[in-house]
């Protein structure tokens, strides 16, 4: 669906070098801190910024050959941009009808009613939650094959976030070929939705793992200095000094459970994995 090979973009104090692959039928998450390079990656995929190297292929086509017609297969949400705030939903409907040949007006209106979005109010006066829902609705209403969603859940309360994720699940259920690339800095959002996750830091991908594996095999070992000295470190990805000794991140939980029964082992949450990957020192 989407393939990025060594996408490069240099700014004064930031440089991006990112490779990732999105399979058909999959939801792939991109997590990272603010400024890690998520939005830059998304904008490069969408051709909004020029790149300094690398290849991007979307739906089997090089991005340079991607035409306006091809863009109909994409549904996009950008964190910092959307339809002009001066427009109303009732203005947007004819615009979308004339933009997308496959725009599903009845579905769109049905969803607008479901989420009680006002037809006759300027978007700039919408609440954050309403704006976010509208953006996602626009992206999923024209039978897109690939959704590219940059921080669609930013700033939302728990309920709005759940509703939004539910919309995305429904979108995926309708067609097995559909895929989503979604970014967030709230990992719990992605934990429940994504099949696999890429972690980006300082413009580089530092981890790629299936969500299931991440949740089942990754763990934090909490050891004191003595235990740390004796620890077999071949499956330790990162370790970090703590007041009680060390905390270590492993991707082979079972190995340590079996061989070091006395060590405190905590199931790794995605947030903890991120923190350790970024703050911890490499073994």
């Amino acid at each position: 669906m989407l393939n990025i090979e060594h996408l490069k973009k240099h700014y004064d104090n930031f440089s991006l070098d990112c490779s990732l692959e999105l399979m058909s039928g999959c939801v792939t998450g991109l997590i990272g801190q603010n400024g890690a390079g998520k939005s830059t990656t998304f904008k490069a995929i969408l051709g909004l910024i020029s790149t300094d190297g690398g290849n991007i292929t979307i739906l089997g086509k090089d991005i340079k050959d991607f035409t306006a017609k091809d863009k109909e297969d994409l549904g996009v949400v950008l964190s910092d941009s959307g339809f002009s705030g001066y427009l109303k939903i009732k203005d947007i409907i004819p615009i979308l009808q004339n933009m997308y040949t496959k725009f599903d007006k009845s579905f769109f209106i049905e969803q607008i009613q479901r989420f009680q979005l006002p037809l006759n109010k300027q978007i700039k006066d919408f609440s954050t939650g309403m704006k976010a829902k509208l953006k996602v609705l626009v992206a999923i209403s024209h039978n897109a094959k690939l959704l590219i969603l940059d921080e669609p859940t930013a700033g939302l309360d728990v309920i709005a976030r759940d509703e939004l994720l539910e919309m995305l699940r429904e979108f995926m259920e309708k067609d097995e070929e559909r895929s989503i690339l979604i970014s967030s800095h709230i990992s719990s959002d992605l934990e429940s939705l994504c099949d696999n996750l890429y972690m980006i830091h300082d413009g580089k991908i530092i981890l790629h793992e299936d969500t299931d594996v991440l949740l089942s095999d990754y763990a934090l070992l909490k050891v004191d200095a003595e235990q740390y000295g004796k620890l077999d470190k071949q499956f330790i990805l990162r370790s970090k000094k703590e007041t009680y000794g060390y905390s270590c991140l492993t991707n082979q939980k079972q190995y340590y459970i079996e061989n070091y029964p006395k060590i405190a082992i905590e199931k790794g949450t995605i947030d903890e994995v991120i923190t350790m990957m970024i703050r911890g020192t490499e073994q």
């Binding site: 909004l48 306006a68 091809d70 910092d80 941009s81 001066y86």
Partner: protein, 218 residues
């Protein structure tokens, strides 16, 4: 492309009250004064300005980034803006001319040929103004674009002044006098040439805008 036109039409409709007010002012001027050139030009220019203002609306809150994820290209966008300007500019110009004709016929102030001539002179000027405004607006966006535009028009006025004065001093030719005394027939020819030149300038301006837009990062 059609989607973009619909969007811009919706954006312009946001200011429909203001547009109606302008129309009322124009009709008022035609009724109460004998000067037809000003209301004619005024309506055409204000409507042109309205089409250009849709660029600022697109730009509002970084809206351009999202706009270019829709199934359009940057070239489509530029061509649409020029089409929109020409389309609405010409509609306004025709409307103003028709209103002018009605007013002159009812009041019997000017011969219709004179009015048509005035109206025909306004057409190329309107096109040239659009040709200047659009690239500036696309390059600098809303606020900076306005300042840059004022500068550009100031520069243009100075150049025109220099040409007229220069011709007067160096070649001892009074261009203004020549224009004023030109017989109607050659005046008509001059207007046709002016419209062609204006359209050529618009094309060049569009080329420039295309390269501006293709270099932009969102």
């Amino acid at each position: 492309m059609k989607g973009l036109l619909v969007k811009d039409f919706k954006l312009m409709m946001l200011q429909k009250n203001f547009l109606l007010l302008i129309l009322a002012i124009v009709i008022g001027m035609m009724v109460f004064t004998d000067d037809m050139a000003f209301p004619l030009g005024f309506l055409s220019f204000v409507v042109s300005l309205f089409t250009v203002s849709t660029i600022s609306y697109d730009d509002f809150d970084n809206g351009n980034a999202f706009l270019f994820t829709l199934p359009i290209t940057r070239n489509n966008y530029v061509i649409e803006k020029y089409s929109l300007g020409l389309l609405f500019g010409c509609i306004a110009w025709i409307l103003a001319t028709v209103l002018g004709i009605i007013a002159t016929v009812l009041k019997g102030t000017l011969p219709i040929t004179d009015l048509l001539l005035v109206s025909l002179i306004i057409l190329p000027i309107m096109i040239i103004i659009q040709a200047i405004m659009l690239p500036f607006q696309l390059k600098f966006g809303g606020d900076k674009g306005r300042i840059a535009m004022i500068g550009a028009f100031g520069g243009l006025a100075i150049i025109a002044l220099i040409i007229v004065k220069g011709a007067n001093i160096i070649f001892d030719i009074d261009l203004v006098h020549i224009l004023n005394t030109l017989p109607t027939v050659s005046m008509g020819l001059l207007v046709v040439i002016a419209v062609i030149v204006a359209l050529l300038l618009l094309l060049i301006s569009m080329k420039i805008s295309l390269s501006i837009m293709n270099k932009k990062e969102f």
